[in-house]
């Protein structure tokens, strides 16, 4: 069984083992942090409301990626969900590395390192067992195309995958546009996933504003 963090990471891996270009954007990192927070919430380590994200217990979960986020969260002051996500964002690459290592340890993917022109390194993560990735995609499609209420897990997965720009990896822009209303309805039912969406919007707005400042 793969975790929510691992499912998001799997969705970012292309058929050839390369990581989707969207995974380089802040949205992906924040979505991964959000996935960890949703899981920590389900495990009773944190809880959240409209005012703050709170640590309930510092007891490790046994999952390296989740425990990394829990430790960082416990070390910082209480913040609203969106601000906590932005504060934790710098740890996203480490959380992704830990999730990739956990997937490799279970033989779901493996690491491949290549060199171009003997100097430039390129890392790929070919998927050994594609069932988990395929299943995540199928559950997303089933929820988006049907009229059933999603499970809390799938609602968070859909909301975070959409916020992190991961749906583009297997849906066309036209399909995403057609499903926009359904996406909005079922992808935002998790309070933490909503906070992630807000954090990404704020981050993108700040980056856009900074890009428009005159260089002198």
């Amino acid at each position: 069984m793969v975790t929510l963090v691992e499912e998001l990471v799997l969705l970012a891996i292309e058929d050839d083992g390369s990581v989707a270009y969207t995974a380089g954007a802040p949205g992906f990192g924040m979505a991964v942090i959000g996935a960890a927070l949703v899981e920590l919430n389900q495990l009773g380590r944190v809880d959240a409301d409209t005012q703050a994200l709170r640590v309930l217990s510092k007891e490790p979960t046994g999952g390296a990626a989740l425990d990394r986020v829990l430790a960082e969260l416990a070390a910082q002051q209480e913040l609203p969900i969106d601000q906590a996500v932005r504060a934790l964002f710098i740890h996203a690459p480490e959380v992704v590395r830990l999730a990739l290592a956990a997937l490799a340890a279970r033989n779901i993917l493996h690491f491949e390192e290549k060199r171009f022109l003997w100097v430039l390194k390129s890392r790929r993560y070919p998927i050994t067992d594609g069932r988990e990735q395929q299943e995540a995609k199928l559950r997303i499609m089933h929820s988006l195309l049907g009229d059933e209420l999603p499970t809390p897990h799938d609602s968070a997965l859909i909301g975070l995958a959409a916020a992190g720009g991961l749906l583009e990896a297997f849906l066309s822009t036209a399909e995403i546009a057609r499903l926009e209303k359904r996406l909005e309805n079922i992808g935002g039912l998790d309070l933490i996933a909503r906070g992630v969406e807000s954090a990404i919007q704020d981050e993108n707005a700040e980056r856009a504003k900074a890009a428009m400042l005159p260089p002198y």
């Binding site: 809880d47 409209t50 309930l56 209420l149 999603p150 499970t151 809390p152 309805n185 039912l189 998790d190």
Partner: protein
């Protein structure tokens, strides 16, 4: 959590704080209510002061269970602090939310 029966509908009455600690027992009680196969299930939140992300998840689980069992489901009488959470997450787009219990009874008629 208290429950009442109104015209074949089960009305669940959570009270106080619905946080992580209260979520599991609340979910169990709602699942038991669905298993009894009433005509519909109303969660009357008039005595509920607080709902966290963990508590909110229970409403989705209960709504799914009710829908799967062919039972109507509605949430009513939310105080402003609770309604804010439902509004923020767009629950009203997928679950029937009513201002008061009478409106919920009418919605499930």
């Amino acid at each position: 959590m208290n429950t009442e029966n109104v015209d074949g509908l089960t009305v669940a009455l959570p009270a106080g704080r619905l946080d992580f600690g209260a979520a599991a027992p609340f979910q169990q009680q709602l699942e038991q209510a669905v298993a009894a196969k009433p005509r519909g299930l109303i969660v009357d939140c008039s005595s509920l002061d607080y709902v966290s992300s963990a508590g909110l998840r229970v409403f989705l689980v209960a709504a799914r269970a009710a829908k799967a069992a062919g039972i109507g489901f509605a949430v009513s009488s939310m105080k402003p602090a609770v309604k804010e959470v439902f509004d923020l997450t767009g629950f009203g787009n997928v679950i029937t939310l009513c201002a008061d219990r009478a409106a919920a009874v009418a919605a499930l008629a």
